[in-house]
Each structure stands twice: as C-alpha cells, then as structure tokens.
C-alpha cells in the first residue's frame, strides 16, 4: 500500500536526523546496563499501519472478528498495533541499523564519562602526591583526617543524589539539544578542566609539599560539584514546577481537547510532558467512529425523478419541471440534518440495547462460579464432586455464554479491533483472580479508555513536533505548535495564566445580620 512505503521511509529519515544531534545527561553513566530499557524510549520509529488496514478492509475485518462469537475459534483480531508481515521485515531493518544505535548512546556515554571523571578527580588529587613524592610531603595529622572524613561523606552524598536524580532511563529523545543539560555538561567540563589545570601547574610541577593544602583543594572541588548538582536540580527539575502557561490540546480528528498547566519550559520539553499526559487523559482514537454514515451524505447525489401526473401541456412542462426540480433539490438538501439526527438516535438506541444484553449476560455468567474456600473441603458431597479450576479454566468456562453478547456490543461501538477474544479471556481471568464484580469486568469495554490502555509498551512511539519557532525556545503567549503522528495530530495553543491580584477582606462573624426583604421603610 502506498501509505506504508511513504511513512516508513519518512520515519527512518527523521529518526536519523533526530539522533544525530542528541546529547545525554552526564549522569547517565550506566546506560550500558539499561540497554534493554532503551527500546522503551520514544525514538523507536515504528508505527504500524493499523488504521489504513481498518479503513480498506473494514468489512472483512468484521467478518474475521465475527467468528469467535459464534464458533469460538481462536482468532487474533486486527488490533491497532498489530504488525503485518512486510512491516515485520522493515521493522527488523530499522532496529538493527547500527548508526541509529551508536548515535543514541553517544550522548549518555559522553555524560557518563564526564561524570565519572569528575568524581574520580578529587581522589586523584589526593592520591597523586602520595604516589609520586611521598617522602617530601609534610606530615599532616588531625586536620587532614578531619578533611578526609568530610571528603568521604560529601562524595557519598554526591553519589547517592546522582543516582537518585539523574540515573533514570530517559523516556524521550528530543529533536534538538536540551539547552540546560548541555549548559551543565559544559560547566562541569570547564570546571574540572580548570581545576586540573591549576593542579597541574601549581602542584604537580613544583611538587608542592603542603599536603593539607592539597586536601583542602580537593575538598573544595567536591563542594563545588555539590553546588553544580544543586544548580542542575534547580534548572532541570524545579524551575518548571510553578505553573505559568495553559496549553490547550486539541486532537484534529475527533476534536477531543484538554487543558493543561505547565511551567516555564522549552517547546520540546513541554511537548514531551504533554505527550505523557496525552496517553493518560485522551480517549483512544478510534478511526471507525469518525465519519457520518455515507447514506446520509450521499443522498444529495441521487437522481431526482419528476413525474407529471397532470394534463399534457408541453410548454408548461419544461419550466414547471425545472422549477420543481430545483425546489425539491433545495428542500432535499435540507433534510440531511434530520436524517443525521434520526440515524444518531437509532445508533444510540441500538448500542444501549446491546449494552443491556451484555450486562445481563455477564452478570449471569458470573453467577456460575464462586471462589473455592479451602476449609470447606468436606462439604462437597460424593454425589456431586466439584472440580477445582484455576482462574484460566474458570474464565474459559464462563466465557462461552457471554461471548456472543460481548461480540455484538463491541461491533456496535466499533471497538472490535481493540479487543480480541484472547484479550477478553485474559481480562476475565484477571478479574476472576481478583474477585471483581461483573461491573468491574465490564468497565474496560463500556467506555473507551485512555490510549495507554491499548498500548503495547514494549515499543516506542514516533511523534513529530511541528513548530514555526525553534523548538528550544521558551513557551510564550500565542504560540501554536503541533505534534503529528501518522493519521492525526495534536494542535497545541499556549496562553499564559492570568496574573492573580489577591486582595483581602476581613469579615467579623458578628457582622452577619439579616433583615426581611421589604420595600424601604422610613420612620417619621
């Protein structure tokens, strides 16, 4: 299909350009350990053509899904994120391409090396004089030992806070430099380099003998590293916590919209944060629910026949006919909204009827099983031995009576592509294990959940940030940018939160007095 070839090429290209200019946080030094977690980040470019498949083969998809309702053969339904065969091969090509992987790890590797270097430096400052000119060093008693202790603890604190704050697998790859991170990396590099420079010129060259001074110098380096970490904390984590802007996010296909409050962020960081919220808050995009039924829209095109039942008057016929045709056509165009209204009412009625049938069927099915208590082993009589089942078998046992009602309901709400028979049985097993009621079992199906629910989280998601301004610029009033995916996009508008002028008014509780509402009264 045309769709597949164009978008897969596009995604490969864009991911390459994205990763070429990335830099990682300097604290991500254990990146090599978390290699498997890297597939979770958002740079992996796979988006499968679930949507075009549905549109082109929608009826055939329905037939395929119908089977499991009637004959209970196991068929994996066409879920949105399923992969067809040709995509599978292309998928392997993309994932195995080495430039992508190398470039992605360049940034974190650089940051990790720099961080390690910075941490090892104070120890090197202490160790080098001892190794090289131990004999000529002045003996340094208690003050040095005090400094050793403080140095050790500060290094420990630095290690722990680095682990807590920065050693997290990144969840997104940004299209351009993350300005603050680069700033901090450069600062650390400059800092450590200047310390080494001073050390090399003033200590190593002349073989300085004042060891206490050297230890104090190393301690000051660790102090400065702690302050840099404080700066990193403020810039990366704290500054954007105070809300300053309100972002309105609208999905282009079905108009679902939300408002979010963010702080001072660059456009790309705001986009990443926004996408996290998108997966939580927006109902899943169902392409099958979009269009007006063709029967309503295409009524205008149908031919209009005029029958002349009156007397045969040739001159009047033509003008009369054309006038009636125009009048009737204009009147006919007006009727499409009533048809739409009735069609909507009909669809809603059908959905409600099927929902009622489903709820009844599920409630009835759940009455067939109950939890087996271990202490009532002797209760079951020898005449009716009850076989003890595990949750999977119990789920399969009670699935059959509700299968048909479930399938009809899913078809009515166009959700059949999101729930295959296998997934329904799995969910049923999950609910039975946790002693859920039928209503709890049904909540997954009765309302379209957030997109995250239907997501296969082992693969990343490719989004394109479309903006008229450079994406590292800070958010400003009136900015508009959009996050594009293959078949829909999210348009984001930025408005600043209003400045709040809070006044104060003190009310004495004794001042609450009331009078009957009457006309004005004057005493004379």
């Amino acid at each position: 299909m045309d769709n597949e070839s164009t978008y897969s090429g596009y995604s490969y290209k864009s991911s390459q350009s994205r990763s070429s200019r990335k830099h990682r946080d300097r604290r991500d030094r254990h990146r090599s350990k978390s290699r498997d977690s890297s597939i979770r980040d958002k740079s992996v470019t796979i988006q499968t053509p679930g949507e075009p498949l549905l549109d082109a083969e929608s009826t055939r998809g329905d037939d395929r899904d119908d089977n499991w309702g009637e004959t209970t053969t196991v068929v994996t339904g066409t879920s949105v994120d399923s992969v067809s065969n040709e995509d599978l091969t292309r998928l392997k090509d993309l994932e195995d391409s080495s430039p992508l992987q190398c470039r992605r790890f360049l940034g974190p590797a650089l940051g990790g090396v720099l961080g390690l270097f910075a941490l090892v430096t104070p120890l090197a400052f202490l160790a080098l004089p001892q190794l090289l000119w131990r004999d000529t060093l002045e003996p340094c008693g208690t003050p040095c030992e005090g400094l050793y202790i403080s140095l050790a603890f500060k290094l420990l604190i630095l290690l722990i806070s680095t682990w807590a704050l920065f050693l997290r697998p990144p969840r997104a790859t940004l299209p351009r430099f993350f300005i603050f991170r680069c700033l901090l990396l450069a600062l650390v590099f400059l800092f450590v380099a200047s310390y080494w420079l001073f050390y090399g010129v003033r200590v190593l060259e002349p073989r300085e003998t004042d060891y206490r001074g050297i230890v104090g110098y190393a301690a000051s380096l660790v102090d400065a590293l702690l302050f840099i970490q404080y700066l990193a904390l403020v810039l990366l984590e704290v500054r954007h916590l105070q809300p300053a802007f309100c972002l309105k996010v609208v999905r282009t296909t079905d108009g679902a919209s939300r408002f979010y409050n963010v702080g001072h962020l660059s456009i790309q960081r705001a986009a990443v944060w926004l996408l996290d919220q998108y997966y939580n808050d927006f109902p899943v995009y169902n392409p099958a629910l979009l269009n007006l039924p063709k029967s309503i829209l295409s009524k205008k095109m149908s031919a209009f026949k005029v029958y002349n039942l009156g007397e045969e008057n040739s001159t009047n016929n033509s003008t009369g006919q054309s006038r009636t045709m125009i009048a009737a056509a204009s009147r006919k165009r007006d009727n499409s909204h009533t048809e739409y209204y009735y069609e909507e009412a009909e669809v809603e009625r059908r959905v409600r009827k099927r929902k009622a049938r489903l709820v009844v069927a599920v409630e009835e099915a759940f009455t067939h099983i109950k939890r087996h208590q271990d202490d009532e082993g002797s209760v079951s009589s020898p005449k009716h031995p009850r076989e003890v089942m595990d949750p999977r078998e119990a789920a399969q046992a009670i699935f059959a009576p509700m299968a048909r009602a479930m399938q009809k309901y899913l078809r009515a709400t166009r959700q059949q592509s999101y729930h295959s028979m296998e997934s329904i049985i799995n969910h049923l097993q999950f609910c039975i294990t946790h002693s859920m009621t039928p209503k709890a079992f049904l909540e997954l199906y009765l309302s379209p959940g957030p997109t995250l629910q239907y997501l296969d989280t082992s693969r990343g998601r490719q989004w394109t940030l479309v903006s008229e301004e450079p994406v590292t610029s800070a958010l400003r009033q009136g900015q508009v940018f959009s996050l594009r995916r293959l078949d829909f996009s999210l348009v984001v508008t930025v408005t600043p939160l209003p400045f709040l002028n809070l006044g104060e008014e003190f009310i004495d509780p004794k001042r609450h007095k009331f009078v009957m509402k009457m006309q004005s009264e004057t005493s004379v």
Binding site: M518, Q519, S520, E521, T522, S523, V524
Partner: protein
C-alpha cells in the same frame, strides 16, 4: 355569614412629640409610587402603591392615637397620599411647622366584619 376583610376608614389624630431637635410621630411608613408594591406584606392587592404603616414605636404618639401596623394612609391633613412617592410622603408627614397631623387611614379589620354580621344575626 361571610368573613371578608371589609376595610374600615379611621380618622386618627397624632400629636407630634418633640425629641431633641425633631418632631417625631412614632411610626414608620413604607410604599410609594416609586417603590416595588410586591414587597408590601400588608396590602391585599399587590399592585397597591399606597403608603402603609409598617411599624409602630411602642409608647410613641402614634400608638397612643391608636394607629395600627398595616394601616394604609389615605390622607394627611387633607392632602391625598395615594399617589405619592416615598420621599414626598415622608416630607408631608414631617413638616416642621405642623404640630398635629390628622390622618385618614383604612384598616383591614376582620373582627369588625364578624361583629357586624354576628350582630345582624343576633338581631334576627
């Protein structure tokens, strides 16, 4: 026997009392053609924009002259009060050169109606 609120006309003469710098009558008025007649609790017809007595100061000259709460003031010293604004009515009652005001008031009195009808019955 019918119980109806037959309005009765009363002539009431109030001597003003001097209190400090003012001459007071000892009651409060409400109503007027510039007021909202719907908020008048004393009137029968809620479109009546006349001047009504809303409060009587206990022990004041109005109480001793037998003015009652709910009376509608029709005339003050001969001047008609039925088509007056609230402020005009107040001015008319508080003229500094008058010591005595003679009011013509109507009063809804249920007891009078019952007494009349009872008396009539008994006479028969």
């Amino acid at each position: 026997m019918t119980f109806s609120n037959v309005p009765s006309l009363q002539r009431i003469e109030i001597k003003k009392l001097r209190q400090g710098d003012n001459l007071i009558l000892g009651f409060s008025i409400g109503g007027g053609i510039d007021q909202d007649p719907g908020q008048n609790p004393f009137s029968d017809d809620k479109a009546d924009k006349g001047i009504y007595v809303t409060r009587i100061t206990p022990g004041g000259p109005a109480e001793t002259a037998d003015l009652r709460m709910g009376d509608k003031i029709m005339q003050v010293n001969g001047y008609d009060m039925t088509m007056m604004t609230h402020d005009q009515a107040r001015k008319r009652l508080t003229k500094k050169n008058e010591d005595v005001v003679r009011l013509l008031v109507t009063r809804k009195s249920l007891e009078e109606a019952v007494k009349n009808s009872m008396g009539g019955y008994q006479r028969q």
